[in-house]
Symmetry: C2
Subunit: 342 residues, 2 copies
């Protein structure tokens, strides 16, 4: 029921995803009366979909705490509970981000070796794409949090990009070991010392994101959120300047007709729909946030991310990576009950 | 002597600036033998330039501490000392950024009402330009620092943009008052409560930078540095994708010839040379950093920024704004010896 154009956009997305992932099955939580007409549009969609009716949906402006308290019968909550119960492998929602994060965390719980779940998503780069986390789940992060983000990001890249040993960089204001604040320096040291099954590329700078220097960019949720939105704003400014240029005078307009196919090819590389599907990582289950303003093709991408992570046994792999590498020194067990970097 | 193509690029920049600012005079610190041939190229340049010879120049890879210790006779140091002595109104350098910051701070000293100097520069936006600070001088910032950055940024915008009451936004992960960490929330509260002579627009998000929502964007030096470089990287990715699109096939190539004039017009809007000249604000004097890889036109812009700030009596205006607005409550004088937000 979430998103600007739900449930139509969601069902169009499922129809696209059904063709890409023929063995996937879908449970749709929401208002049956509103879902049925759209479902009926696609002949074979009924075979892979099951509708579970509920009248209640979380509003776009509802606070996470309200959603937690009052949304126990909401479509979002029931969908997350299906993951908790094992009926579903993962949940995908285009609804209220804060509510999805709060309810996913409350129902699915943080996985044992992780202190703080984080939000991850792909960014376009010159060379393809890179995963960036945390995109805003944690405005303040410890060095331990950053190390765990690196492990989760690498597991994500391994499954989504199919790279066995992804490269991981820690976002900083310079590449030298002494640069930055205590938190990034301590995290950098831990990542240099322990082999977590990925290539630690050391500190990277802001420009490295779009240059595609690494497969995974690790940062705190404040910086990650600001950078994500800054790049979105920059990209949209650029596209609007381009549009103005193409419309300024007859020669430009004719020129545009000739350039158009190549230009559309290029826009595909930065099409937000191709990057749709931010994942709330570090939980006992898969929870994927679709952009609310996307279309069917974008929603299908978010579903694809969830399908890949369920198939790739994402949470279990994070757990295994951390258990392999983390050593809990006996004398510090009390200070850091869950995990400590040796 | 600083920059990839000095002193040639610098002298070309002075020649351009001389025409734009006919009453400006220039003192060139550096190797007379290397400067003279370039100076001789421009007939009337000798009238407004004076060369002060020194053999020593700070290397691009020199650490700030080394530069401070060993660079006492360097061209950079002597240029900054000319500002301290009042011989020059401001210094412009395309050399080592860390050394320029360290030496400027050491020689010119932080101005009385400011705790931490910061780096400010303009970014392109849909509506024109906005000034962003801190771009990396302080990786960790207190709420007081952010408030002072806002005052300095507003003074900068007043002079450079000619706006009497500029709008100032505080970069955060959301616009609601409760969003973000303690530091931005406390700074936000102070900026809402005290009238510092600008319009406080409250919290803004990453996308607001390029959307041109405000004239001045305030953030800590970690976030600011990462965002600056991320936008540079994003912009360069975009331009490279465009270039690929225009070169893919005959139709695109012909189309490009027709679009070219409009496209170049558009590229001017994001031309880094037009934004050249980052200012180290909060000192008793003007210190401007030019990009090392710029050309004469870019260097002339950096000179223009310095000329404007000297004419606008930048440091004095910051001092006046802060003295007008800051109240030091007697009981908290010991905790915060320099300034406290009432």
């Amino acid at each position: 029921m979430g998103g600007d154009n739900a449930p139509e956009m969601v069902i169009e997305g499922i129809e696209i995803a059904r063709n890409l992932h023929p063995d996937a099955r879908f449970i749709l939580f929401g208002d049956e009366n509103r879902i049925a007409p759209y479902l009926a549009r696609f002949r074979r969609l009924g075979d892979v979909c099951e509708v579970r009716h509920t009248d209640h949906a979380i509003a776009a402006d509802e606070k996470p705490s309200q959603a937690l308290r009052r949304g126990k019968k909401s479509s979002m909550r029931l969908a997350i509970e299906a993951v908790f119960e094992g009926t579903a492998g993962g949940v995908v929602s285009a609804g209220n981000t804060g509510a999805l994060m709060a309810m996913s965390k409350f129902v699915l719980r943080t996985q044992p070796s992780i202190d703080r779940p984080a939000m991850i998503s792909f960014f376009p780069t010159r060379r393809g794409r890179c995963a960036v986390l945390d995109l805003g789940a944690n405005v303040e992060c410890s060095a331990d949090n950053l190390v765990q983000f690196a492990v989760m990001g690498a597991a994500f890249a391994r499954i989504e990009l199919g790279i066995d040993r992804p490269t991981v960089g820690l976002l900083n204001v310079g590449v030298e070991e002494l640069k930055g604040n205590d938190t990034v320096r301590t995290a950098g040291q831990a990542l240099r010392e322990v082999d977590f099954g990925f290539e630690f590329a050391g500190f990277i700078e802001g420009n490295d994101i779009c240059e595609g220097t690494v497969d995974v960019v690790v940062t705190d949720g404040f910086t990650g959120n600001v950078v994500l939105k800054a790049l979105e704003g920059g990209s949209s400014m650029f596209v609007s300047f381009m549009r103005q240029a193409f419309q300024s005078g007859l020669a430009s307009k004719i020129g545009y007709l000739l350039v158009k196919p190549a230009f559309q090819q290029m826009r595909k590389k930065i099409d937000p729909r191709a990057y749709n599907g931010a994942v709330f990582v570090g939980l006992n289950g898969i929870s994927v946030k679709s952009h609310g303003g996307t279309d069917g093709a974008g929603y299908a991408n978010a579903i694809g991310v969830a399908v890949d992570l369920v198939r790739g046994r994402f949470s279990e792999r994070i757990q295994a990576d951390l258990e392999k590498s983390y050593v809990i020194p006996p004398e510090s067990v009390e200070d850091t009950p869950r995990a400590a970097i040796s």
